[in-house]
């Protein structure tokens, strides 16, 4: 067992505070970006609309949406037997394109592929740069905490929160390399700030050794996967919430209503949000399955039974089943879209509940939160 290094622990706390400060500035920049870009986009739209009107008479476009939609159905006749009644074809590339064609034009949304567009969004760039800086400081905080305690930095609530916030931001930044999810910036960075503040104010714990029950390599495996999956669930939660808003906005606009949520132009269409969050949720679900399994294996090693319906186990199971429900919903006719998004949100609320309320107020075998 490595010795405790209090000085390292103090450095770590300082880093955490600095990171929270940097994130706060990044948050403001992200918010500014949303406000500013929605104005800019509106101007571009107005110009485009005028241009489109002018050319509308000249070119008669083929409504490709309808064509492709029908084409996708060509082969469905025999795919039927492979599923139980009521099984929906999942929204896939084919149908995705169709509906995208339909929404383009009125009630503009951002690029469905969530690729970076050519135009520069200065505030967004500043925000991302600040987030990277914050994450570097935050990472230093996590690492010094680990060295201070001489072990992995996830042994109590304080450490779950600080490390979890770091992983959430890091996953977000990693996804940003390939996808323009900057519209999620305010959410992710805002959440990281809340987690850091909560950790420092409500759950502060000095560096210390682990109780024997936690001294196992399973702590490294089980908890790291749980934290990673939770970070992914965090992203999809935000996307599902936006999806609901966007779907509502698209519907309003399609029926001739006014676009009251201008900033939502920065956000891709509801369908693209759903598709990407499905993909992330699928990864996170596999991660959660591992969390559950490794937890069971660890429980067997520590307590002599792999499953005992301990409160923490119950909630981990509930989360797993809810997300299994989500995956099914995406394959069930009438349950894709908005309903699936709700399931994704409910699943995330369960994750939050499991982490906060269950850790604090329910006592079970898992009560090592260090409170």
């Amino acid at each position: 067992m490595l010795a405790i290094n209090e000085t390292m622990g103090q450095y770590s706390e300082l880093f955490m505070l600095l990171a929270a400060g940097t994130y706060t500035v990044a948050f403001i920049a992200f918010a500014w970006d949303l406000a500013k870009s929605s104005k800019a986009l509106l101007a571009v739209d107005l110009k485009a609309a005028a241009a489109a009107e002018a050319s509308a008479a000249a070119t008669s476009k083929v409504p490709v949406g309808a064509g492709v939609g029908a084409g996708a159905a060509v082969d469905r006749a025999d795919s039927d037997v492979s599923g139980p009644a009521g099984r929906a074809e999942r929204p896939s590339s084919a149908t995705g394109r169709a509906s995208n064609g339909a929404v383009a034009g009125a009630g503009q949304t951002a690029d469905a592929g969530m690729r970076y567009a050519a135009e520069r969004r200065v505030p967004a760039r500043v925000a991302v740069a600040l987030t990277v800086l914050g994450a570097v400081i935050h990472g230093a905080g996590v690492v010094t905490r680990a060295f201070g305690a001489g072990r992995v930095p996830w042994g109590n609530m304080y450490e779950f929160l600080t490390t979890g916030a770091f992983v959430a931001v890091a996953v977000f930044l990693l996804v940003l390399i390939r996808r323009d999810l900057r519209f999620l910036g305010t959410f992710v960075v805002g959440l990281a700030i809340i987690m850091l503040v909560a950790a420092s104010v409500a759950y502060w714990t000095p560096v210390g050794h682990l109780v024997p029950a936690l001294q196992s390599y399973w702590l490294v495996i089980h908890v790291s996967i749980a934290v990673l999956s939770s970070a992914l669930f965090t992203l999809t939660f935000a996307m599902s919430a936006l999806q609901l808003v966007q779907a509502h906005r698209q519907k309003t606009i399609a029926s001739g209503g006014a676009d009251k949520l201008g900033f939502m132009r920065l956000v891709p269409s509801a369908l693209s949000l759903e598709n990407l969050s499905y993909r992330i949720n699928a990864i996170a679900f596999v991660g959660w399955t591992f969390t559950l399994m490794f937890g069971a294996i660890w429980a067997e090693k520590a307590w002599g039974r792999f499953w005992g319906w301990d409160t923490k186990e119950v909630w981990t199971f509930v989360i797993w089943v809810v997300y299994a429900g989500y995956l099914h919903a995406r394959a069930t006719r009438g349950w894709t879209g908005t309903r699936a998004a709700w399931l994704s949100i409910v699943g995330y609320l369960c994750v939050v509940f499991n982490f906060t309320i269950v850790n604090q107020f329910f006592n079970g075998l898992h009560s090592y939160s260090g409170l």
Binding site: A88, S93, S99, T289, V314, V321
Partner: protein, 600 residues
């Protein structure tokens, strides 16, 4: 967003429906009330439908929650009893709703049993259908490939000398190499085509996943039937032998037989604890427990030294032995009024508070003329506050102390009713020593002896040993549950990340001698990489025929980006695939062969 949910095909031809039980069942589901068997079939269709599965899943999630809100009997029977006593108004009602036994309750079982019936009802037909699909040829070539989600064309110049039939053979070879199952049709005709499919593992993975879930459930149930568990306290020097009498507490599974117990033995040689002396907040907390034990697989097997730790059980004779508790056991010698040793040995002290502040109960039924009883506390590091409250200042044996009251009379042990060894019922006893009596209480340090009043005997505090509590478990279902769980994960990953796709290619000869090639791709289920696959296939074909991929076609194929459903169609932009009309008859010849017409 209803446009995304595809209209489920046009009415299937009659022969198709016959070969298609689900479609048939569905047709019937649309109009129930066709007599008893019709009803049954309708109910079965409903039960095995995706919607029902989803509903049952969500119901299962909801039903699991109360188990975390109320104390559960299997984990904590005494807390449940206490809870019912504390809530006289509704405690009993909750009990009748089985809310203290949620996971074995009728309603919870009903949900998961229905779920699993539904699952079986879904998996079996799907497995049969998939088995057939895996053995049949890829479906016929659609008449209009341009309607497929991914579509592209290539033109081979007339001087390349690759006629339509060669081109299709080349494409077939390429696709085969890429892992597709390929079927070439009509290769001598004017419009040869091929159908190709890959990714059958996706469905296999899905089936393995769902089947393995059943496996996990069965394994867990089997563990409950044939397993057993028990507890035992071992003081340093004690030996446990795995027989029914060896246990302090024993819980057999439903089908347990005592012949299952293998009589191995385990002796506790030494138990060590390391306490935290570094961090402020947790000063004095235990940070390491280590028990040195000597084990024998069978009574005459050679002895083996092993270490038992938290998180690190010892496996012996098909069971696992876990370190679950520990404490101090003061060693005492009690002589009765006649001067004979009535009791000698360690007494297990039960943890009560911080720093191993523990309670001690000693019953001495062999003392003559009167039975003796002692009750009090053991403190490893005794401190007394000014108010006279004693507490333990440290978990280690710095200033060990026994403080006891003593009693004499009939302990009631001969009545035959079982007694808790950690409690002394003093109602029928006469106190000898207590703080409020003239004689006062007994306070002993190691190595000291106290003489009881009235010539009742003496008590000596000889020293202190440590004890551990061990749990012993045998669960034969465990290994199988693990195997099925691993299978389930493998199936899940396969099902989520293998893509099932179909490709069709059709070739033809233009009147001017060029060979025209068109291809289309279709994904089954989620596939965000279909466009990328189309690009790759295009690349393979242009390479094969030495074409320049950009100029080889007349129409723009799908965009170069790899994934994301709609990104090959930049929204609103003009001059891309979305706005360009796709040729209905790219390959000039009669549109649609007679066989593919059926598809439209």
């Amino acid at each position: 967003m209803s446009e995304r949910v595809n209209e489920k095909k046009k009415p299937a031809p009659a022969d198709n429906a016959a070969a298609n039980p689900v479609a048939k069942a569905k047709a019937e589901a649309a109009m129930p009330a066709l007599g008893f068997t019709g009803m049954l079939r309708w109910a079965w269709t409903q039960l095995t439908s995706m919607r029902t599965a989803l509903f049952l899943l969500l119901l299962l999630a909801v039903a699991a929650v109360p188990g975390s809100l109320f104390p559960q009997r299997p984990a904590n029977p005494s807390i449940v009893t206490q809870y019912i006593a504390d809530h006289p108004d509704y405690g009993k009602i909750l009990d009748s709703l089985q809310l203290y036994d949620v996971y074995s309750s009728a309603w919870f079982s009903a949900i998961y049993i229905l779920l699993f019936i539904s699952l079986i009802g879904c998996v079996v037909p799907r497995a049969i259908a998939h088995y057939k699909a895996m053995r049949s040829q890829p479906p016929r070539t659609p008449a209009r490939l341009s309607r497929l989600p991914e579509y592209g064309t290539l033109v081979i110049p007339a001087d390349a000398g690759i006629p339509a039939s060669d081109a299709i053979a080349d494409a077939a070879a390429k696709l085969k190499k890429r892992g597709y199952r390929v079927d070439v049709r009509d290769d001598d005709g004017a419009r040869p085509s091929l159908g190709a499919e890959r990714g059958f593992l996706k469905e296999v993975g899905n089936l393995v996943f769902h089947t393995s879930l059943i496996g996990v459930l069965v394994s867990v149930a089997a563990g409950g039937l044939f397993g057993y568990s028990g507890q035992r306290i071992l003081v340093e020097g004690d030996t446990f032998v795995n027989t029914l009498v060896g246990y302090d507490q024993f819980t057999p599974g439903t089908n347990f037989q005592s012949s299952q117990l293998q009589p191995y033995s385990i002796q506790l040689d030494k138990f060590q604890i390391t306490f935290d002396r570094e961090s402020k907040g947790k000063f004095g907390q235990p940070i390491d427990f280590k028990a040195d034990v000597t084990t024998r697989e069978t009574p005459d097997a050679p002895a083996e030294k092993q270490v038992l730790k938290v998180n690190d059980p010892v496996s012996l004779g098909g069971t696992s032995i876990y370190l679950t508790g520990n404490g101090y056991a003061p060693v005492v010698t009690i002589r009765d009024g006649a001067g004979n040793v009535a009791m000698q040995g360690p007494v297990v002290a039960k943890l009560q508070g911080d720093n191993y502040y523990s309670s001690v109960v000693i019953k001495v039924p062999d003392a003559k003329p009167d039975q003796l009883g002692f009750a009090g506390f053991f403190l490893p590091t005794a401190f007394v506050t000014e108010e006279g409250v004693s507490f333990s200042g440290d978990p280690e044996l710095i200033n060990p102390q026994l403080t006891l009251n003593s009693y004499f009379g009939d302990l009631g042990l001969n009545a035959g009713s079982p007694q808790n060894v950690f409690e002394l019922d003093v109602k029928k006893l006469t106190p000898l020593n207590a703080r409020n009596l003239d004689a006062g209480g007994i306070t002993l340090a190691p190595g000291t002896t106290y003489t009881l009043p009235d010539g009742k005997g003496t008590i000596s505090f000889d020293g202190v040993k440590r004890y551990i509590g061990v749990d012993i478990h045998h669960n034969p279902g465990q290994l199988y549950a693990l195997i099925f769980a691993l299978l389930a994960v493998a199936g899940l990953v396969t099902s989520l990340y293998v893509n099932r796709r179909r490709v069709w290619v059709r070739t033809g000869t233009h009147p001017d001698g060029r060979t025209m090639v068109e291809y289309g791709l279709l994904a089954r289920g989620e596939d965000h990489r279909l466009a990328a696959e189309a690009e790759i296939i295009r690349g393979l074909l242009t390479e094969e025929w030495g074409l320049d991929s950009r100029t080889a076609s007349q129409t723009a194929p799908s965009g170069p980006e790899d994934n994301g459903p709609a990104e090959s169609v930049p929204s609103g932009a003009s001059g891309d695939a979305a706005t360009e009309s796709r040729p209905e008859d790219f390959i000039q010849s009669t549109a649609g062969s007679s066989e593919s017409k059926k598809d439209q």
